[in-house]
Symmetry: C2
Subunit: 359 residues, 2 copies
DNA sequence: TTGTATGCGTTATCAG
DNA sequence: CTGATAACGCATACAA
């Protein structure tokens, strides 16, 4: 019962050599059509599956890729982002019979240690790198280990809501890793257009963790977009947090206590947005009557709270699928490349409205 | 750079045989203390790590365990439960240098297929089974495959909030799988005691997916507890959902439209609870003034919405740690056994209060 | 087109 | 205590 069939069993059963079986099962030339078919049938009957260890050992790939999530325990949990991302990644991986090794660690150092171990143990053929940072040690490490990788969530071109500057990416500079990028600048432009169009002139941004590429990117984009819209530097500002509801609430409290509080706040995730709404209502500030709120990333959370939150909708699972496709392409010998995910869509709901008339 | 050191390298460097290295590195007798130390040092210098494929091939274990999550895509995402669980599992696994294979699939059949494949490919040494069902095909399959497994979330003894009936679990019946159980009956007793103590006599229960063991368990426990408290069968009822905010809202709408609506509703997860509060307020029913709400499982969600939700707090990461420990024990040759996780704690917040006086 | 021989890195079984 | 040697299952270069 616990014995798995091997190609030897198949060879014996089909009356051929082991190598013939190997060829037949791997779609390689060197075996006639009928024997190939016969071997296939026998393998099917016996329920044969390749032994991943043996495959990996004989120079092939391990048939697994890895994903490490480096987040302090208390910040993970509520965000739907990762499960959706992983779900999308797997959809593609499963089709190629690739397994996903998943690991949650506390910090970046631990993450790097995991990569080293996976590499040394030959556990994975490649990795998906999430939460890219402005000063990120991982690309260099992965390149050094020659471990194929795709980063997900790097931010797009630095241009400010301008025409896509796809001007001949110099082929001489080969990126070490593939990347699936998000156009945070374009997204921020949408958000600001929406708020500015409603009449908001003082806008705050409760961002995520400092050091993350997309955090920094959104912060600079906010300033750039403000300039574009003719808003002064005193009219927009960003504060960073750890993504938790606690820090989101705290930041909101500080911001609303200022002498000239903003009339709109953009939150970098859904949990903080909801926490912000709660803080505002405790302070007697109605949403959206006295304060407009936008959540970056949509979720059930944004739809079940009242008022329903205006949110940036991204196809997170699609993001994951894209990442997995790029990784598979890399593993198949393709050159590293960069792909842009589709621009998020701003879904206006009940939490955004014109600023109070008194303003 | 991309070459990993092998024991052969170590043997040459240390001037001993390969088998000596293998013995030294695996804490086996048959090698003197100094050579052992020397070999260790050389291995350290060279940064040697065992090649997992080679280990797995030579009859050892693969050094990986699996976890499959079978959930339709739209129901996963908001629940903090799984990331927390996984986080706890890994904490224990990482200490034993065991990798976790994680896969998200659509349904139970696909989940079983994954187990078969993992088994055939020798990918994992064991699995963690979540979302146990009342009529579950997985234990039989795993037993047939001789794949060590621990189920997490099975419900505790059938006794109704009685003294723990730990009366000599008959040793003759050896369970096939280890289990980490949750005392849903005890938890339900706490919830009903709380609500009954506040004065509630008509209580509804918006449960999760039918067929899940804990769903059925909570439903029967609700009835049993009601009997204990002297409530008639017409005064309590459960409805099942798919855990989504949409079905949670829909169920709430139906329940509140009944001729004699309940004064309290218990929701099987946080998202549905929040959705339920929203529906109630849309119908002009204040929470907790006109309706009390309890959420099963706490999360940031329960703390950021207003009113803050009274919730059953469980140490989900601890749950995961327990599961991982049991699995490791099983892999180490231990006998399957069943462990009870600690009883959840009811955290009263703002969403529960005495029922309206008019009642 | 087919069968044979060898290697992958490790563990395990034997001899010395 | 040590050093060869054979598996483990698969891929592949090479010989028939």
């Amino acid at each position: 019962m616990a014995r798995r069939p091997t190609i030897k069993d198949i060879a014996r059963q089909a009356g051929v050599s082991e190598s013939a079986v190997s060829f037949a099962l791997n779609n390689r030339p060197g075996v006639s059509q009928d024997t190939r078919a016969r071997i296939r049938r026998v393998a099917e009957e016996l329920g044969w599956q390749p032994n991943s260890a043996a495959r990996a050992l004989s120079g092939e790939q391990s048939g697994a890729v890895g994903l490490v999530l480096a987040r302090p325990a208390h910040t993970l949990g509520v965000e739907s982002f990762f499960l959706q991302l992983v779900s999308g990644i797997q959809e593609v991986l499963a089709a190629g019979r690739i397994a996903l090794l998943f690991q949650v660690v506390e910090d970046l150092d631990a993450e790097c240690a995991v990569y080293r171990r996976w590499w040394a143990e030959r556990r994975v053929d490649g990795v998906v790198v999430v939460d890219p940072r402005t000063d990120d040690p991982r690309p260099a490490l992965l390149e050094q280990l020659a471990l194929p990788a795709v980063t997900v969530g790097e931010t797009g071109p630095v241009s400010v809501s301008s025409a896509s500057s796809d001007s001949a990416p110099s082929d001489s500079v080969v990126p070490a890793l593939s990347a699936v990028r998000a156009d945070d600048a374009g997204a921020m432009a949408q958000v600001l257009d929406h708020l500015h169009g409603l009449g908001h002139r003082r806008i705050a941004h409760v961002a995520g963790m400092p050091g993350l590429a997309h955090t920094e990117r959104r912060i600079t984009s906010l300033r750039a977009e403000a300039r574009r819209l003719g808003l002064g530097p005193g009219q927009v500002r960003s504060v960073t947090t750890d993504y938790s509801d606690a820090e989101g609430a705290e930041a909101t409290r500080r911001i609303l206590a200022e002498p000239e509080p903003p009339t709109a706040i953009v939150y970098d995730n859904d949990v903080m947005a909801v926490a912000g709404v709660a803080v505002a209502s405790e302070l007697g500030i109605p949403v959206p009557g006295g304060l407009s709120v936008v959540a970056w990333d949509d979720s059930a959370l944004c739809r079940v709270t009242r008022p329903r939150l205006t949110a940036l909708v991204r196809d997170t699972a699609g993001f994951g699928r894209l990442a997995a496709e790029e990784l598979l392409a890399l593993l198949a010998g393709g050159r590293p490349r960069s792909r842009e995910s589709e621009l998020p869509r701003l879904e206006p709901r009940e939490s955004t409205a014109p600023p109070p008339a008194a303003y």
